[in-house]
């Protein structure tokens, strides 16, 4: 979260100027030759774009078309469309579960886990950068192990640790006298998500650590030394020199983490009660799965997918704009 944009008035004041400059390349003199020159890259890109359109855009369009239908097994069999307009969307947006449980869980979890992953990952990257070659190899191998572990396996390990009757966690607490009777941590909303948070941060921080480390190694040593000469402490040097240098890197890891953590599914679905029998822990991924695939309501599921895509696009767009505006300054 260290990469958040500083004072907005200044950056928003700059933004239009920046946008104007970016557009400048396009608007300069629309004579015939210039137009041909402007069109050439697009022509060269056209075959690739068309392949992308067929493979990516068409499925997207299909999903959108499904979202306007009551599309179930019967429609699949007969192949006949069953248009219902925007009814899927109104049903989603008027579902009380969505506003009281699903969205708060999803958004709250995403915010906490993105923050946790990025902060912890960056801390590990700083640690790695200060280690010698031998220990850096040892530590990064250990980190890679966490990364390489499949989400399913990792989830089962956490479930086992927090198991009510036979789990290490309860055993330890009871042996220390902190707990009298076993507690089932999976039945409470907060404890449930605390475990998911541990799981997701544990699985996600290596990516952040490795990416940020690559950026850290690129920060010019001279600048840091100069700052040290000027009397800047370690924290000051980190926040005033390293962080601004790594803005792009942070933008990438934050956007990717946000997308991943919004869509988290296996880590919730596979937890005891997470597949839908504990309604207070439903998140967007599990809810849409249960409501659409579980019920053969593919149209409804498509509508959720469209809304999720729009939401993530909006988040990404806002974030990219903020970062680009910073750059222009």
């Amino acid at each position: 979260m260290t990469a958040q944009a500083p004072p907005t008035p200044r950056s928003s004041g700059q933004a239009p100027a920046g946008a104007g400059r970016a557009a400048g390349g396009w608007s300069g003199g629309w004579s015939g030759r210039a137009r041909a020159a402007a069109a050439r890259p697009w022509l060269l890109l056209a075959p690739a774009l068309l392949v992308l359109a067929v493979l990516l855009l068409w499925p997207l369009v299909r999903v959108f078309l499904f979202s306007l239908q009551d599309y179930g097994l019967r429609e699949i069999t007969t192949g006949e469309p069953n248009w219902i307009g925007l009814r899927n969307y109104t049903e989603i947006l008027t579902a009380p579960e969505l506003w009281t449980v699903v969205l708060p869980n999803t958004v709250g979890f995403a915010v906490l886990s993105v923050a946790g992953t990025v902060v912890f990952g960056t801390a590990v990257a700083v640690l790695l950068a200060s280690l010698g070659p031998f220990w850096r190899t040892v530590t990064s191998s250990a980190i890679m192990a966490a990364w390489a572990m499949p989400a399913v396996t990792g989830t089962y390990v956490w479930v086992w640790i927090f198991d009510a009757d036979r789990g290490v966690f309860n055993d330890t607490l009871m042996n220390l006298g902190l707990l009298d009777d076993p507690t089932n941590w999976f039945t409470g909303r907060w404890t449930f998500y605390a475990i998911v948070l541990l799981n997701v941060i544990h699985h996600g921080f290596p990516f952040v650590a490795v990416t940020v480390l690559a950026g850290l190694l690129g920060v010019p040593k001279e600048m840091l030394e100069a700052a040290e000469m000027d009397g800047a402490g370690a924290f000051r040097r980190f926040f005033s020199i390293v962080v601004p240098q790594l803005r792009q890197v942070f933008a990438v890891v934050i956007i990717l983490s946000t997308i991943w953590d919004f869509k988290v599914f296996a880590q919730v679905y596979l937890m005891p009660g997470g597949a839908g029998s504990n309604r207070s822990v439903l998140n967007l991924g599990v809810w849409s799965y249960v409501e659409s695939f579980g019920q053969n309501r593919y149209g409804f599921g498509s509508a959720i997918a469209v809304l999720l895509t729009l939401l993530l696009l909006a988040i990404t767009a806002v974030y990219v704009r903020t970062v680009l505006a910073e750059e222009e300054r």
């Binding site: 068309l50 009757d165 089932n184 249960v290 053969n296």
Partner: protein
Amino acid sequence: MNRAMRRSVAAATGAVLLAATTAACGGGSGGDSGEGDGALSVWIMQGTNPDADDFFDEVAAAFEEETGATLDVEFVEWGDAHDRFVTSIAGGTTPDVAETGTTWTPEFADAGALAPLDEHVSGAGVTDDLVEGLVEAGTYDEQLYGMPWYAGVRSLVYNTEMFEQAGVEPPTTWDELEEAAAALKEEFPDKIAVAVPGDAEFTVYPWVWGAGGEVATLEGDTWTSHLDSPEAQEGIGFWTGLATEGGYSSEGATTWRETDVLDAFAAGDVGMAVMGSWTPGAIVEANADMEGKFAAVPIPGQDGGIAPSVLGGSHLSMFETAEDKDLAWTFIEMMTTGEFAQKWAEQSGYFPGQVSLLDETLASTDPLVAPFAEQFVDGGASVPAAPTYGAVQAKLTTSTMMQSILSGEQDVATASAAAAEEMTSVLNGAG
């Protein structure tokens, strides 16, 4: 400009062709490959019978001898099967015959993918010889779409060593069950007297039926769930009360599935639990020490008798895409009646779907066979045979009710009323 345009059109055509071929490859592996040259394509679920390969080699030989047609069996994982059925129904590439889980049969029949079997069944003269719970589950709109093949049933399995040490007998009424649980708890305070799992719907319904309640009934075109009826609430209240009031279960069991019950029972930590007729093998496999240390009894009714329990198993279904329906039926008849049905049941540890084949099993004195067989014949029931029941299962309606009661969030009345409302609405096709 022009040339570039032409090139990109060519590229686009290429891309479309590429997409089309990929799609064709993906869908082509389905069923109708062998039609016309006297072949029957069959999907069988994987993991029921450890000797399935040898078994089907034998069946194929016998089938070819009888009909001259070859048999093309494909094994499909249970976990992937539902999705594969749906995609093959969509693409029109279903096999001629397939094993369908009992709760899927009405769903696929509703989608128009299955062929009705009544004429064939009465032609073969086996109508009255089929296990009733399985016929009920395979019937949709008063027609039979799933031929009963095999099934298992859940009964009350108990740890004989623990029972002996606590000096209790296997229960035949609910009062006896509660007394046994109390005695077990006193003798083994660190163990689980009776496992009451929160995420295992099939362990709940016997108590609903045992108290005289119903899960759901069909009247005209409308389903109504009766999980909130006084009888059902009494049954649910007794079963969950063993955990919440008696403390005979465990904290962890609130989120247990049936596999967790099995693990705990195999570890020797559980006095009694509702478990399937297919589990004894798995228990001994997980812990060889348990051999000979457990037995089963039918699930007791409230004041004695047998509480009905769900028959879980498979049908053989014929798909509408089958060109030679008589050939398909010959295979279904061969598999579900007589010699091969018997053999499959023996190898897999399930019960055959033909009543006359069960006589021998019923005469068994094995403490892990006879009680299950008794439950199978005298206390077998079906979940509501609605095409939408799969949706109820996907929503985990019953498990939600159980978990909220077991965790103390809701009382039996509130939770069962919410579950009944949701089940009624989902069964009738409202999201």
